[in-house]
Structure formats: structure tokens, C-alpha cells
């Protein structure tokens, strides 16, 4: 029997560069037998790169990898090699074929044969045995698509376990599961752990980490922050480490903004128990004119999803939205736009820019759509509007007509910002508006946000950088694990309070 606690996998001094970017710098990672080890980190921390390096999807420049049972160090050159050495990965998108049966998915690519033909009896029998050993009792001859995503993931895990049995990497496995399904998955993980397997659990769900893991490794900006035992690390400390804050010597940062204390501010956005099944649990909030409201939370906590539910990008399954005092039905973004909302999406490449269209067209498009199908803005009007925002936002482009794909990422972001500013919305949602923008321009945009607020707009500001939200927001809504967990108003705003609310839990030692 394997000794629990023995070192199973050791990665040392791993360096990995992409052109112009340091992805991993001198990172160590240790996995022991019979443990569930969480790998955590915010955007750009390097978690997925570390896994890719381990499993042979990416190459690396420096460092060593050793595995118990294999002499010396090795390098995996492909996922297949990794599998042969005993390291398997199960991804969030369950990379199986739903049209095939459960049994076949487990054995595809390595089907047992009899007389040169595939032996279905054996496949069915063996896969049923395998699943039974893992406490999963289902009909293995049915197509995978008949089963819930949770069960599909467990089949994927069963396949991985059968092929190789030493290290199992679970990459964001719980993102699409509900609570009971997560529990089932955890039962399976504990069972595998008891059999001596080492499991790397890549996730951003705070609660789950504390529920099922033994150890945590935290990465930040490509470097190792540390490896910790779960019962020796209070949640708040974990959050602090992930965000790069030293919890103990934080000064309370207070931010004062000009405000009319006597006037009751006009409510612009009033959300009542809005929910989008699968992405964001029921939430209610109020945003007033002149307010900049921030959404704080770890990566994957549901911030963008909340914004999308408000904007109609994901049509809400329930709830009532009042805008400027009127109840409005938002079935699609056009409804939100017509009411007076604007939305700058998080992923500008996939959801923001029209790569082949010109700067002018990219800026004009939202305003044009609002105008309808028949009336086109005159060339003069278009040029005027475009130039206005090229100047105001200092967009670096050769020409109005340059295809926007030729602009730098930061300038593309400015184009999208200009697009929405042009529509003069009462409520503007900005999801990571300063990502990929140089420091000087970041400040400009933050100042612009403040100005828009003082002009009477309501703004929702989502950012992974707490400082810039603190600089601009008067209110903070906090999310954790796809749920809104609280609101901090102006007097309560501080990094400490934010992180505490994100962390949740009972300890405050």
C-alpha cells in the first residue's frame, strides 16, 4: 500500500516565458500521495501555465519535474506522454464525446479486442466494474449525453483514473455544477485520495477549497507566493495572499467624494431578485445617479455574470428590473440599450470589437443601432462623433478608417469605451475597462468615470484591482462563488473590509 504523505510529484524552479511575458518565474510545486492540493491564483497568476507545462501542452525553459516511481527528471512532450507517465487531466469542458456510450468513452482509443474486432461485452463489463469501484452506479451502455454534467465529469475522471493512476489534475471541475453535484464529486475525490492518489484541484471557489483540500499553493503574477496547509491558513489570509496584500499592515483607505447629503438621489437601477440559472444566483441591488458602484470578488465569483444579467446579455430567468423608476423587460441587449444602459464587455476581442471594421464604424455602431434600421447617420455626423472620442480618449490611430484590428489592445479598449459614451447612457457597466491599458491612461479613465458620475450617470465598475475601484467607487458590492454576499457603503470602504467580506467564513483570528 502506498505511504500517505510521501512526495509524489515535485516541480522545481520552473521558468516559462512567452514572447514579452514572464508566465512562470522560479516556481516550485509539490504534491504528496493521498492529498487533495488546491492550486489558486488570480488572472495571470500562472496556474493554467503550470498545469500545461506539467502535462506537456507547453514547453518550458528551466526547471525539473520528478515523479515517484520514475528515475530521474523528465519532460512531458504531449498530453499522451503525460498520461503514459501517470498524470491525467480532466478539464472543465469534460472532453468526452457525448454521443458515445459511457463505457465507450472510458475505453476509446484503447478498446479491448477479440479476434480483431472490438469486444463490447468486455468494454461494458470493465467500465461498470470501474465505476462501481468508485461508487458510481449507472447504466454504462447509455449515451453520455443522457447524464448530467456532474456525472459526465465523474466518467471523465474514471477514464483518467483507469488510464493512469498516480496524479489527477482537475481543472475547474465545479464551475458548472450545483451544490449536490459538487458534493458527489467531492465524495469521489476523497475516495481516490484514500487510494493514495494525488489530486491537483485548480479552482477559484473559496468555500470548496476549504471543504475538501489538504493543502493550497498560491501563485501570483507568475511567482510562487507559498504553499500552505489548509487548517493553518485563515480565509482572509488566503484572499490577501491571492490579491498580493499583506493583511496585517494595511491602512484603512478612505475615499471622499462630493456628494449632496441632503438630496435623495434618484434611483436609476433597481434590481429585484434577478437570477440567471447556472451563472449567477438571485441578487438584488440599487444604484443611484452620481454613483459609481464597484463589484468586488475573486475571479469567477460571478461579477461579469451579474452585469450580463442586468444588461440582458444573458436573459434572466427570474426577477424584476426597474430602470429610472419604470419596470422594464430586458430580453436582449437592445432592450437595455433603449432604456439607457451601456455595456463594455470583459473580453474585448471576442465580444467587443469588430476586427475588420474601421475605428469609425466600431465607435458608431451602438448609437447607430439605437437609431434603427433605416436612418443612417450622415458622413459628417459620423466623422464628427468619431473625432470627438478619438480626441477625448486620445485614441492612437492612423486614421478614422483604419481597421480596428490594427490598433493596440489598449486603444481598442478606448474605441469600445467611446462607442458607449457616444450613446450617452444613464447607466454604464464597465467590465475591466482598464485591463491592458498603460498606467497614464488608466488614471485618465478613472478620472473620466468620476466625471461621468458627477454629471449624473450611474456607473458599475468591475475590476480585479481593488485600488482603482477604491479610488472611484462610493459603494462596493461583494460577490463570492457566484453569489452576491454583501454591500459596503462609503464609510465601510477599505481593502480590509472588502477582503473580509470576500473571504466570508467565521474566523477572524
Amino acid at each position: 500500500m502506498e505511504q500517505k504523505g510521501n512526495v509524489l510529484l515535485q516541480m522545481r524552479h520552473i521558468d516559462k516565458h512567452f514572447p514579452g511575458v514572464v508566465a512562470l518565474l522560479d516556481v516550485d510545486f509539490t504534491l504528496r500521495q493521498g492529498e487533495i492540493h488546491a492550486l489558486m491564483g488570480e488572472n495571470g497568476a500562472g496556474k493554467s501555465t503550470l498545469i500545461k507545462v506539467l502535462t506537456g501542452v507547453e514547453e518550458f525553459e528551466k526547471g525539473t519535474i520528478t515523479l515517484e516511481g520514475i528515475r530521474g527528471t523528465f519532460i512531458n512532450r504531449s498530453p499522451q506522454e503525460a498520461q503514459e507517465r501517470g498524470i491525467s487531466t480532466v478539464y472543465q469542458e469534460v472532453n468526452l464525446c457525448e454521443n458515445l456510450s459511457v463505457a465507450e468513452n472510458i475505453f476509446i482509443g484503447r478498446e479491448p479486442k477479440k479476434n480483431g474486432m472490438i469486444d463490447w461485452k468486455q468494454i461494458n463489463r470493465k467500465s461498470e466494474e470501474l465505476l462501481n469501484r468508485l461508487d458510481i452506479h449507472i447504466d454504462v451502455t447509455k449515451a453520455l449525453e443522457n447524464y448530467s454534467l456532474a456525472l459526465q465529469q465523474m466518467v471523465a475522471i474514471a477514464r483518467a483514473v483507469d488510464i493512469s493512476a498516480k496524479v489527477l489534475i482537475l481543472d475547474e471541475p465545479t464551475s458548472s455544477l450545483d451544490e449536490s453535484e459538487v458534493e458527489k464529486l467531492f465524495d469521489l475525490m476523497r475516495k481516490l485520495k484514500d487510494n493514495g492518489m494525488g489530486i491537483i484541484f485548480v479552482t477559484h471557489f473559496l468555500e470548496q477549497v476549504y471543504e475538501v483540500c489538504d493543502r493550497i499553493t498560491v501563485l501570483r503574477n507568475g511567482e510562487l507566493v507559498g504553499e500552505f496547509e489548509i487548517d493553518k491558513l485563515p480565509r482572509v489570509q488566503l484572499v490577501a495572499k491571492m490579491m498580493g496584500k499583506d493583511f496585517d499592515d494595511l491602512a484603512k483607505i478612505k475615499h471622499y467624494q462630493e456628494k449632496n447629503d441632503d438630496k435623495e438621489e434618484q434611483g436609476i437601477v433597481e434590481a429585484n431578485q434577478i437570477e440567471h440559472i447556472g451563472t449567477i444566483k438571485s441578487f438584488s441591488l440599487n444604484i443611484h445617479a452620481h454613483e459609481v458602484v464597484g463589484l468586488a470578488g475573486l475571479l469567477g465569483s460571478g461579477r461579469s455574470e451579474l452585469a450580463r444579467a442586468l444588461y440582458g446579455a444573458d436573459k434572466p430567468d427570474s426577477g424584476i428590473l426597474k430602470f429610472n423608476g419604470q419596470v422594464i423587460k430586458v430580453h436582449a441587449p437592445i432592450d437595455a440599450m433603449k432604456a439607457g444602459m451601456g455595456y463594455l464587455p470583459e473580453n474585448r476581442k471576442e465580444e467587443g470589437i469588430f476586427a475588420d471594421l474601421s475605428v469609425r464604424e466600431n465607435i458608431m455602431i451602438a448609437l447607430q443601432v439605437k437609431k434603427g434600421m433605416f436612418k443612417l447617420y450622415t458622413k459628417k455626423e459620423q466623422e464628427e462623433f468619431t473625432d470627438r472620442y478619438i480626441d477625448a480618449l486620445k485614441i492612437k490611430t492612423a486614421d478614422r478608417e483604419t481597421p480596428v484590428k490594427q490598433l493596440s489592445g489598449g486603444n481598442q479598449q478606448k474605441v469600445i469605451l467611446g462607442r458607449w459614451l457616444l450613446t450617452n447612457p444613464d447607466f454604464l457597466i464597465l467590465d475591466e475597462p482598464t485591463r491592458g491599458i498603460d498606467v497614464g491612461t488608466k488614471t485618465e479613465i478613472q478620472k473620466l468615470v468620476l466625471k461621468l458620475a458627477s454629471d449624473g450617470k450611474a456607473i458599475m465598475f468591475i475590476s480585479s484591482e481593488i485600488e482603482e475601484m477604491l479610488r472611484t467607487c462610493v459603494k462596493m458590492i461583494v460577490l463570492r462563488d457566484r453569489e452576491m454576499v454583501g454591500t459596503l457603503n462609503e464609510t465601510e470602504l477599505s481593502q480590509e473590509n472588502i477582503m473580509e467580506m470576500i473571504a466570508g467564513g467565521e474566523e477572524r483570528e
Binding site: 472532453n95 457525448e98 454521443n99 476509446i108 478498446e111 474486432m117 472490438i118 447509455k142 443522457n146
Partner: protein
């Protein structure tokens, strides 16, 4: 939430509809045209005889469709095959056997070129096979713009060969017993079908086809050689198109430019009606066989009716195809919604 048990399997469900549809149509034929001898066994056999070529082509098409691809050039390849056979045997005095081997090679090469463009250059199957369709149809005319009748003795002996069944005969006016017969082409077609069935169900290559059609990305990550499998599928399909063309030629004994027009749609319709999903990953050749039989039955019904124009066959097939495509689309949408809950 509807429980899965009642629906059995979505796929078996579709196949069941197909089989029932065939039985219903055939029975109605017997009811309506019993007096015209629709009930004779020969009528049933004729379904196979007239459509031996289609059975083979539909088999190949099924495989391509399962990979989530498509090949609309097969009708033109059939025409090109017939013309090539006729031209080689009649104008170049090539022996029947050699001519057969040559067209099979040509078909396979054709499939290889298309498959390579689709699989290795990642070009859309539809555009490539559309070009292939026009290329092959044009080549048919290049070989000869006029009809060529096949008079080659060996070939004709194949075309006229019959296997008689020792039972099921009827008495004709002169008092002789006429036994039902089938052509060897039917036997060949069914052999091809059986081979395809075994290939798809019992070989790694066959299962890879299903995997790729179901989720190409997953198949790749599971270590399957996606490119090679896809290429091979089109190669086999090209071979089967040529072989189907040969069986077709046994029926028509001629090559002409307009031949087999719309054949590709009949093949696709047979597969789709037989339960093959256009989106890939699902399909089986037995269902496609029934799809062919349904098409044959519709043709027979219209024939027996006598007054309806033969174009009604194409329209009915088109309508059936539309119905099944839309049905597939609705079932797929319902599945998506079910899973989101």
C-alpha cells in the same frame, strides 16, 4: 422534466420512426394497389434492385455525415463513373473487369483529393464537395457529351444475371410459375452494407468516426488521429461512390451527362431519414438502408398510381427530408434546454 426512460434513446427513437414509416408506407401500398399486384414479393425485391447503387452510396454518405462532414459530389461521381465505364468499354475496348478496376481507382483518388483539402487544409466540406460535384459533372461531359450505350458482352451478362428464389412465385397467364428474383448487384450492395456495419461498430477506425463527429476537439485530446480518420472517410466514400456508380450502370447500361441528377440528395435524405444526424456523431447504416427503402417505396407508390408525375418523388423526398431535419433540430434544442436546468 421528462424522464429519459420513456424516450428510450433519442437515436433509437428516430430509427424506430423510420422503420415504422417504411412499414406503414409499404402496407398502404398493398392496400391501395393490391389489385395491381403490389403485394407480390417481386415488388419488394424491386426496391432493392432499382436502388442497389443508392444503398452503396448512402452507406458511404452515412459515414461522412457521422464525421459531421458532407459530400454532395456523389451524384456527379456516379454519373462520371457510368460514363467512364461506357466510354472505356465501347470506345477504347477496355475489358469490363479492367474498366471496373479503373473507375474504382478514379473514385478513390477523387475521394482522396477532396478528403485532403477538407481534412488537412481545413476547408469547408460543403464548398469543396460542391466544387467536386461540378467538376465531376463537367468531366462526364468532357468524356462525352452524347449518350454511350454499353454493349460489352461481359458487362451485359453481369447486368442480366438473376438469382431466382425457390419460393414465393406466382402463376402468370400462361400457367407458368414465375419465381421472384434479385440481381447480383443487390447481393453486392448488401455485402457492402454489412462490411460498413462491422467497420463502424467493431473497429477502432469506425468508432473514431463517431467520436470525431460527436466532438472533434475531445477526440483530438483523447489521442485520436482526427486528420487521418477524416481523410480516410472521404477516401472510402469516393470508392463507394464509384462502386455505387458501377451498380447503377448495371441497371442503366449507359452513360449520359444528365444521369443521377439529384442522387446526392437522395443519399443524404436516406441517411437523414434513417436517423443520421446532420450535426454528426450519430448514425447507422441500417437506418440508411431503410431510408433507401422508403424512397423506393415512394417511387413505387407513385409508379403504381400511374397518373402522378415522377417529379412528385423528388418533392416528397424533399418534404420528408425537411421534416426530419427540422425534427432533429427541435430535439437538439430541447436537449440543450434540458441540460441547462
Amino acid at each position: 422534466m421528462k424522464h429519459v426512460k420513456i424516450k428510450m434513446n433519442n437515436h433509437t427513437f428516430l430509427l424506430l420512426i423510420t422503420v415504422l414509416l417504411f412499414i406503414a408506407m409499404y402496407l398502404s401500398g398493398i392496400l391501395l394497389f393490391g389489385d395491381k399486384n403490389f403485394g407480390r414479393i417481386q415488388v419488394f425485391f424491386n426496391l432493392f434492385i432499382s436502388n442497389a447503387g443508392l444503398i452503396v452510396v448512402a452507406t458511404g454518405m452515412t459515414m461522412v455525415l457521422i464525421t459531421a462532414g458532407i459530400d454532395i459530389s456523389v451524384g456527379s461521381v456516379v454519373a462520371m463513373t457510368c460514363m467512364l465505364l461506357a466510354w472505356m468499354m465501347e470506345h477504347k475496348s477496355v475489358s469490363a473487369i479492367s474498366a471496373l478496376i479503373i473507375v474504382l481507382i478514379v473514385g478513390t483518388a477523387f475521394g482522396f483529393v477532396q478528403g485532403w483539402l477538407i481534412s488537412y487544409l481545413n476547408l469547408q466540406p460543403f464548398i469543396i464537395t460542391l466544387a467536386g460535384m461540378f467538376f465531376a459533372r463537367g468531366m462526364t461531359a468532357v468524356i462525352s457529351t452524347e449518350m454511350i450505350s454499353i454493349k460489352n458482352e461481359m458487362f451485359l451478362s453481369w447486368a442480366n444475371a438473376k438469382f431466382y428464389l425457390p419460393f414465393g412465385g406466382y402463376e402468370n397467364k400462361r400457367g407458368d410459375i414465375i419465381f421472384p428474383y434479385i440481381y447480383p448487384s443487390v447481393v453486392l450492395a448488401l455485402l457492402v452494407l454489412a462490411a460498413a456495419f462491422i467497420l463502424l461498430k467493431y473497429t477502432k477506425f469506425g468508432r473514431s468516426i463517431y467520436a470525431i463527429g460527436g466532438n472533434e476537439q475531445s477526440a483530438l485530446l483523447m489521442g485520436l488521429n482526427v486528420r487521418r480518420t477524416k481523410l480516410l472517410t472521404y477516401v472510402i466514400n469516393g470508392f463507394l461512390a464509384a462502386f455505387g456508380g458501377f451498380l447503377f450502370a448495371l441497371n442503366t447500361c449507359a452513360g449520359f451527362v444528365e444521369q443521377a441528377k439529384g442522387f446526392e440528395m437522395e443519399a443524404i435524405a436516406s441517411a437523414v431519414i434513417g436517423g443520421t444526424l446532420l450535426t454528426g456523431g450519430v448514425g447507422n447504416v441500417i437506418g440508411s438502408l431503410f431510408g433507401v427503402l422508403i424512397k423506393g417505396t415512394i417511387e413505387s407508390l407513385i409508379n403504381f398510381q400511374g397518373t402522378l408525375s415522377s417529379w412528385w418523388t423528388k418533392i416528397t423526398i424533399g418534404a420528408l427530408l425537411s421534416f426530419f431535419i427540422i425534427l432533429q433540430s427541435i430535439l437538439a434544442a430541447r436537449k440543450q434546454r434540458r441540460r441547462a436546468v
